[in-house]
Structure formats: C-alpha cells, structure tokens
Symmetry: D3
Subunit: 250 residues, 6 copies
C-alpha cells in the first residue's frame, strides 16, 4: 500500500469493494484486431477498449517535406457501451466536445514519448473504440494505445520501413479521485459519478509526468490532495508499465 | 450438398478453399454486451459483428398514440475493421450511402417478423457494429440482430413489460454469388470482390423470402442463376436458423 | 398477356383500373433539357422524371491515369412532386438514405451496360429529378437515364471525342408487386402502398438481369411468386426497350 | 416604346436581337403541378421556373397563437438547368448564399401583398424550382409564385377554409440593366454577364415599388440611369400583370 | 439640410431625437486590431463594428494564373451584440441567410472600387464583426471596411509588395428609410423596426451609385420617395467620405 | 517574489522581458457590452477578451422542474485576433475541438463556485470572445467571465429576480509553464509556443483548486516542477482576485 500524505487514511471499503489504492483487474491482449498493423484490447475491470494502430505512408499537409512523422488518435464509443444507449455520433453528424477532448489527449500523450523525426514521413492513427464503458475509458485508451503503437512500429521494423523503434519511453494513464474525503485509485463509473475530485494522470515509464488533469466536481481541492492523487497514480501506472512490457513481448 | 439446377456444377475449390455450398464457420455468442437488454456477437469466419438491442419506452413521433411499437437498426464499422483504415463516419460528419442502405435493410428485415402491435408503444434499436470485416457483414448483422432482438424481448417478458414475445418467426440472411461461373454460398471478401454476381437473401424460419437483392457486378445473370443462388441461400439459412435457436436458449 | 405460373390468376381490376400485366402509358421525350449533352423526360402515367446527362473531361481521383471513364447518377425530387410537400433536401442539409440508395442503384445499372474503358478518362453524371411522383420513380429514372446517357455519348461522337458508343446494351427497369394476392406489373403509388410484396427488376436489352430487389412489405413471399414477378418484368421491360430505341433515333 | 430620360437613346440591336425595351416572350401556365394546391410554370424566353404553392394548417413557432398566417418561399435549381452542371445543393449539404438571398427575396415580395392576418393561422410555402436558366430566374420566380399563391388561396376558398382571398394586390418583377451604355429591359444570361449595371425591380399592380436592387457590376451608375431602369421596369411589369390576370382566370 | 422633393417635409422629432437628415455621431478608429494589416473600428452611435483586413499571397482557384487579385468579406455578430442573445453561428453549424447576404454585399461593394488587376495575385479578406448592434451594421461595415482595406494596401506598399494603391475610389454606405411618412437618414434599431421602407445606399467618393437596395416593409413606396432617400444618402455619404479621408491619413 | 522550490532559480529575462513571477498588466473593464446583463472586457497585456453574461428565464431540458439553474459558456475568437487569420468557425460549419474544450472548461469553472440551486430555474450563458490573442485566452476568459457573471447576478438582484447572489466564491485562472528550465508565470504567445511544459491553474478566492491542467509539450515534468507552477499560480490568482473585487464594485 502506498503511503498517504499526512491527514489522509484509507477507507475500508469503496463502492467497488476495493481498498483505496487497489486497481481493478487490468488485462492487455495484443493483436486482437486482425487487419491492423498493431492492436491491443485493454480491460480495466468491465471497461473494455479496442485500440488499433494504422500505418499510412503520408503525413498531414503541415508536415510535408519536413522529414518528420505524425501520430494521432481517434476515440469512439459504441452506442450501447453505456448503461443507457447514447446517440451514434455518425448519425448525429458530429463528434461531441467530450469525444474531441479525449482523442486530442490520447494523441498528445502518445506524441510525448514518440521521436517523430525518427519516424520519417509516415503517420500512425490509433483508434480507441470503447466496447464497454465503466469509467476510466480515456486512461485505458492511452494505456492500450501505447501497446498498439509499439506493435505497429515493430511491424514497420519487420517490414524494413524503420530501423529502430521511435518510441522513447512508455506512457500510461490512470484516474484517481477524492471519494468520500479519501484519495482512491482507478475510479469505476459508480465511484466517478460521486467523486468530489476526479483526475487523470498520464506518466512515462521513466517517472515523468506527461499530463495532469484534476477537476473539482464538488468542493475545490487542496495541494495536499493533489499530491495524494499523484502518489496513487504513480503506484498505479507502475503496474501498468509492467503489463505493457508483457504485452509487447507477445 | 444441394442440387444445382441443370447446367451448373460445383467447382472443386474456391479462393477460400471451400466447396461451392459450404459456409464459413458461424458462431453466435449471446449476452456479450454487458449493458444491453439483448446482445449477440456473431462470427462468419473472420467477420465479426457485435449486435446489441436497446429498449426504450417511447416510440418515434409518427407512431405516438397508435398503440404500436417500433424496431429499427443502426450499422457501423470500426475504422480498422477493414484491410485499410476507413474514415470514421462520426469524424467525417455523415454516414455513407452504403451505411444507410445497410441499416435500413436490417431494420426492414427485423420488422418483417415482428408483431409491432403486440409490442405496445415501445422501441427497440438494434446496433450492429462490425469489429472485423471479411465479407458478408450485412447478412451477419441481420442474423445476429435477430438473436439480440429476441433476447431483448425475453428480457421485457422477465420484467413483466410484455406477456408474449412479439417475434412471429425467425429471420436470417446469407450472401451467395456467381464466382468463376459457378453459384457459391457465403462469399468472403476475396471472393466477393471477384464475383460476377452478388446477392443477399433474407429468409424466414418458415421458408418465406423477406428480401432478395441480387446484383450483376460484371455480366448480367439469368433466371436460372438466380434460382441456383436462391437454392444455396435456402440451405445456408436453414443452418443459421438452427444456430439461432441454440443461441436464444442460452 | 403473360402466362402466370401455376396457382396465380389475374384479377379483373386493380385500383388503377388496369389488368395485372398492363403498364401505364409510358412516354420518353428526348432532348427536353436545353443545356445538357443528353436528356430525356420520361413519364410513367403521372410519374414524371427529367433525366439529364452531363459530360465532364475528368474522372474521380480513384480512376486518374487508368484510362477508364466513369458514369454516376444523382437523384432528387422537387419538394411538391408528392401529395404532401416534402422537405427540400438542400435546406435540410443532407440527402436521405432513400435518395442515396436510389442514386447508387441508378449509377450501378448504367455502369452495368457501359464499357468504361471505351470511354477514356471522362465522366458522365446523369441527374434524375422527379417533377411529379406517382410510384415507380426509380424505375422510370433508370429507363430515362439510359436514353439521356445514350444521347450524351452520341453527342461526344459528333464532337469527335469518342469514335464508338461505349454503351454495350440497353438497360431498363420496371416495378412489380403482389397486390391482393396477385402479381401485377408497374405499381402506381396507390397500389405500391398496399402491395404485399414490391420488387424492382433491372434488365438488359439482351435478356440478362442486372439487379433484382424484391421486398416483402407484409407476409414473406415464395419462390413461385418471385418467378411470376420476374415474368411480368420481362414483358414490361421488352416494351420499354422498344420505346428507348425510338427515343434515341430522335 | 417608353420615353428614355434625356441623354439615353435605344440601341438598334442587343445580343438577343431585341430592342432596348423589348421583353422576351413570357408565358404562364397555371396548374402544371398535379399535387400542389396552386402552381404555375413560367417561361421568360428559355428560362423556365416551376412554382408550386403548398398549404399547411400550421404556422412557424413565432406566430403561434397570433391568429396570423405566413407565406414563405424556397428556391432551387436543377443541377443541369445551366450551361455547365452545378453541384446539387442537397449533395453538398447546404444552400449557397445566392440561393438563400433569392428565396428570402421571393418570400418578402409575396408577403408585401398578402394580408397575413386575413389568412388565419395557416402557412403557404411557394417552391420555385428552375428547370432551365437563361437569366432572370429570380424575377420569373416572383412573377410565377404570385400566380401559384393566388391559385392556392382560391383553392382554400373553394374548400371553405378562407372566405376571401388574402392577396391585396399583384406583385411581379423584372430585371433591367445598363448594357453597352444603354438601359435595356429583361436581360438574358448573355446580356446579364456583360451588363455594366444590373437591377431587379419588384412592383405592385397598383404602381408601388416593393423592392429595388440595383448593382453596378462595372462602373458606378447615376441617378438618371436608375430612373431609366425604373421606367423600363414599370413598362415591363405592366405587361406581366396582364399575363398574371389571364393565368389566374384559368 | 437637404431639399426634400415636393410633398415631403421633415418631422420635428424622430424616436432618436434627431431631425430627418441628421446622422448619428460617426467615429472611425484606424489600427485598432493589433495583428491585422489594416483595421478600423467604426461606430455609428451605439453600433460598433470591428473591421480587419487580412492579406494573403494567394488567390481563390478560379483566379489562379490570371494575374488578378481578389477582395472578399466575412461578417459576423457577437452573440450578445443585440438586445437579446442570438445563437452563435459557429455553434449552430451554419451562417444564416442574412449573414451571407450581408457579407456578399460588403465584398461586392469593395470590389466595385478596387482595381483587381493592379493587385496582382493576392487576396484580402475583410472581416466585419459587430461588437454592438443598434441598426445600420451593414452600412457601418462597408464604410469601415473601406478604411481597413485602404490601410492594408498601404501596408503592402510599405512592404514593397505593391507600387500603387489599387483602390480607385472611396466607397461608403448609409441606410435611409420612410419613417412615419417622412424620409429619414441613418435609422437606428428602434426606427428601423418601425420604418415603412428601408433602404441601403452604397455610393462612391466621385458620386456614383454602387448599389441600391430599397425594400417596402409595409406599404409599397413611390419613385419620389426613392429619390428622396437617395438625396439623403448622398448627403450622408458625403460626410462619411470626409471621415474616411481623415482615418486613412492616420 | 515567490519562493521557488529547491533546485529552481529565476532567470533574469524572459522573451517578454518579465521576470519569472511577473504577470502582464491585467485590466478588467466592467459593463463594456451595452446590451448584456453583465459584461467585462479583460486584458492580459495584449490579449483582450470580451465576456458577456446573458440571462434567460428557462433551463436546459435535463434541469426542467428541478428548481435548479444552469451556467454555461461559449468561446470564440475573431478570425483576425491572431497573427495570421484563422478560419471563421461559423463559415467552416463547426467549432474546433480546441474551442469546445475551452468553453467546456470555462463553464465548469464558473459552476464550481455557483450555487445552482440558489439560482432557481434560470440560465446564464457567458460568451467569451477573443478580440486579440497573445496567449492565455482561456485563463483571461475564466477570470473575466466571473466578473460578467457576478454583474449579471447583481442585475437579477436589482430586478428582484434573486434575493442573494448565488456565487459562493471567486474563481480565476492563470497559465504557468516551464520555460528554458525555469517555472514562469503568465505565458504570452511567444513564450507559450516554446515552453517545455504548459499549465492552466484555476483557483478559488478561498484558496482551493478547481482545476489543474498541466501538459508536457517537450520532456515530461516532475512533481517538483508541478509544485513550482502551482506556487506561481497561487501568487498570480491572488492578484486577479483583487482586480475582480474592484471590477464588481464598479
């Protein structure tokens, strides 16, 4: 168990029955999508996201003739991934603000650990499609997307398109929150909807922080609380990095 | 093996290695989507479609106060379900003509065997999302959607919302085509893209035809060829009806 | 009168007052659109469709540098072509699924009888705009579009852009249905909305079938019924081919 | 011939072969659209517009419970109404600025002579669809739309929905322009595209002006020139009012 | 005070407290937008429009390789520029017909006094964004846009991109209307919404008319009334031309 | 000057010439928008955002009959607020992902300090329109929006619609980043585009944190760096709270 900063103590039970610093069972299944150059089905408990990486031999206009590559992401959710059916975004004719926010975050996280120059002028699009949602889909997406991206780069190396893997580090993400006054790790949907503060922490294998997004849903939070969440996230991502390493060894 | 009409003979091998009247291995896994009232993951060889049925207690405006229910369908494909990544329809801002054509067909097929009056004023939307595509996705969708719909109606009966199941019959679909001059059953993608004629046959458990769509991709076809395709489809759907029965027994 | 398969007999009167195998009066007026390279105003009774063929000296991206041409179609309906005014699709901001389904069908039918390689790299778009609707607009569109396309190709020959006419055969379409238990030819709107089964048959001048679309609106239909409809369609299109020949002679 | 203001003299020939104050042949054919409550096919030489008036028993939200009616217009052009094919607005997904400008003008012109209170809470939409374009389509639309609207109101009187015709006056429109230094009436496309100034004048049967839109395409114009155009328009609309009277008598 | 044509007399007070031929206080502040090549904040009383001119070194496709430049305009209104908040057009997903009509008018007016050939192949887009609206926004936009455009051309001369200023003349616009039977100059929102006739007059520094748009909101208007409005507009724009001259001198 | 955590030292000059913990000059001008119930023009150096609060007496559907109010925000940027002109979102037909992300953030921040129940069933929309952009527009928007919202609530109290002001606390935001290895406060555009890490900190008047968004643009950042940024933000927002208090006293 991690050390809580002074003033916090772990609750005995959360709605999920887990203790404060317990993650749900996480599994990463590489190669799940038959046609993609790299893919990974990731599960955080019930949450289930299929990540596929697609390689293209061209770059967006703003990168043409720069010798540099691009990594981007798109995010979607099956209409009935959720408890009640949501509108199909394709039928509605536009992606919601939430969808765009998440896919921008995934792309940014992946680029933070990719040497775009080492890619040469090629693009990889990682699609993260949520098959079942139970909280934490954006963190699961980032964590699984890294595996799909790694496998796609491996594929490029096998095809002699790349000599080295342009990934400089691992990246993984986990949500933490203040639930009933206590910092807890890896919120599921029921916890997330009642948390006072909700944060997503995106970290690298070497211990750096790529992005912190922490939001007070109810009362504002304090610096100490932020640090407690960060501590939980560090412990959680350490475990995810281990799972990623296993997944890419295949 | 079915009897071919005069003038046709089965080829020894198709690109898939199957004989003319052999279907791919078909599996139906009910209850795959945790949140949906009814669901079925259907596989035709590599092709894989997740069908979920969502119940809502209201009807579209044109049916209000008629005492009648509604069944409709939506169809989608994950961007990397295919060999090369396709645009995400939500990002492009509209559903393609092909998508709309297919989802209208699925909805029509399901309504053909549903007693809408017996439903009362409720709606069921069946989402058919293609996870992996290798030909025959619309036929797989219809066949799996019927199972998802049946399970959703069972759920309504268990909840005491319905007294009887409004499904009057089974419905299933299979593709057939003329490949290299010979009628063959259940085309995969490689066969479909080279077939001279391509047809989708939607049939009921009691032997009726709900819809026939046969299209000459190259040379026009003859009445005899149409009958040969219909014969294959009858044999193929007979097998699908058996699998559906097993799936709903759960 | 055609021979009905065993078990069917012609009714004495249909809502339209026609016997089972009687078509409405059909007229084809070539050259109706002053600016188009080819055009034809086609009437099936009250139904009235203006078909115009527009030649362009370039092809869609996927055909560039293939030496091959392209034929495509667009379909529209004036807002008050129908009994009650429909929304203007341009104002609504998108074409309905029905519109897209029909225009894809028209394009496919025309391409089935066109030697695209013989065209060289040019495109022809055939616009089919319904001025008055009374059932059978998609069949009228296909039949009239062929005349407009033929005239546009003749125009290209006169301009020395083409040496031979790339049309290999005629194509025409007619609807048939089961009305009150009996197969009938060429449904008008009143009949169509009450038919148990409704089919569109697209055939070539040399007797081949290009596309069959038959749909049970109520009870499923049988193989015998399908054959009866096909027989009616064969008789109906034979007459349309004669009218097309007169129209292109001008 | 009208009297030109000092300083202008009529040219002997325009591109169209007409003298300065000669209109093209104008015909108005009432009742052309079978399903509409009122309709009129109007031709100005080659220009051809089908105007249909559709009655609905409800009003837009901003007029609910005011006891007042509404008249509005929509404008469209068949893709090949013009010399080279234009994009179909429904396919492009939006109406152009020009289309919206014209349909707003038609609606405003019709409302200027309609007693909206006398209509009660009903709406009439007049669709003006250009079948062939050769200049002057917005003026032809207004002139024909008035006839369609009048016939729709007559229909409402025949159906006992209205006791009196809410039209207080006639409205008609004609274009005029400065061509090669001389004011000319009723520009066709060839003249319009070379005119230095181009104006649309919308007038009432009793001699009032409803709208003037005059635009310098090349050099600015003078007050005298504006008056000369207005004089031509007065003469032209006088003739249109006669034709409208004949058309509504049927 | 201008001379009114026979039969009109100036009212003593308008809702605004101004006499018939009095304009609101008009101020033009050049250089208000820090980043733009040319800009002008224009106020007509409370109405306030920020005009910015942006230079780009390319032209729209239809002008490529013609050696000619292009001037265009876009118009927008902040959601709360008006008394009650209007929808944000970006959120609604399209520009209204009114917006498009106005921005087309601004662009046309600017091009009427620009020597496009003298520009060479470059484009200038003038954005007119209404910060506060109280009637007359389109006229203020045109008047301020001319200053922004002039300053942008001056900037190009300073940068040695142009040798001479391609503006051949000034252009300014003012609204006039018939209010309570009397022609009045420069309507504010309260007057505009009650005026019987409403006109926009766009004139050049050398006295020519670029565009007249006069619309009867209630009863039709007469030729004499049109002339009275034109007289007021001439007096009003004379004053605007003086202000423009001061503004570009800086 | 704030105390930097061990290991950091302030650089002597930043691109802006400011020391590490110096903010740009900030001014808040209340009541700038004549028609809005509350408004504030806020400047952070050159960055300039007009914030207007619009009161409506109804709530979105999901809040009807809950007795609770709603506060939301929309964000926009004039096309030439930036160094090079950006597309007008209204013309492009959709808001960018960035725009949606920012307006969701503003709305969330305002709701964090508003007692929605105390509002009763009314809505306030705060529009934040960037007139000039030079970095920090989202933070300026939040800080100015709070003033506009406060003034709108005061207006409601003056109108006797509310008895007390539903704002429970102040909220303000400031950006901080790691520039050239050193934590700096309030990045302008030039600094922001070269910063290694970029963060937005949204805080309440009573010292709580509402939202932290920190992103590594280059190398990942450490926990110590995050704390340094938080320290700077605390100092910066303290100053903003003072300015807000002055602005609402008006």
């Amino acid at each position: 168990m991690i050390d809580f900063p002074a003033g916090f103590k772990a609750p005995f039970v959360r709605p999920s029955g887990r203790v404060a610093d317990a993650m749900r069972e996480v599994t990463l299944t590489p190669g799940q999508a038959r046609h993609a150059e790299g893919s990974c089905l990731i599960r955080f408990g019930v949450t289930e996201v299929l990540c596929t990486a697609s390689v293209e031999s061209k770059v967006p206009p703003f990168l043409r003739n720069t010798g540099q590559g691009w990594v981007t992401a798109e995010y979607g959710m099956l209409p009935r991934a959720t408890h009640t059916r949501g509108d199909r975004e394709a039928a509605r004719g536009k992606q919601s603000g939430r969808t765009q926010e998440i896919q921008r975050l995934i792309g940014r996280s992946l680029r933070a650990v990719t040497d775009l120059k080492a890619m040469g002028e090629m693009s990889i699009t990682v699609d993260c499609d949520v098959l079942t949602a139970d909280g934490g889909t954006r963190c699961a997406s980032i964590t699984g997307a890294w595996v799909a991206l790694h496998l796609a780069f491996q594929h490029c190396m096998k095809m002699n398109v790349l000599k080295t893997n342009p990934l400089r580090d691992q990246v993984a993400a986990i949500s933490c929150g203040i639930w009933n006054g206590t910092p807890v790790l890896d919120l599921d949907y029921a916890e997330d909807s009642k948390a006072e503060t909700d944060g997503n922490f995106i970290m690298t294998g070497s211990g750096g922080i790529v992005e912190v997004q922490a939001t007070a849903e109810g009362a504002p939070f304090s610096e100490n609380e932020l640090l407690a969440l960060l501590g939980l996230a560090r412990a959680g991502t350490a475990k995810l990095f281990e799972l990623q390493k296993v997944a890419i060894r295949g």
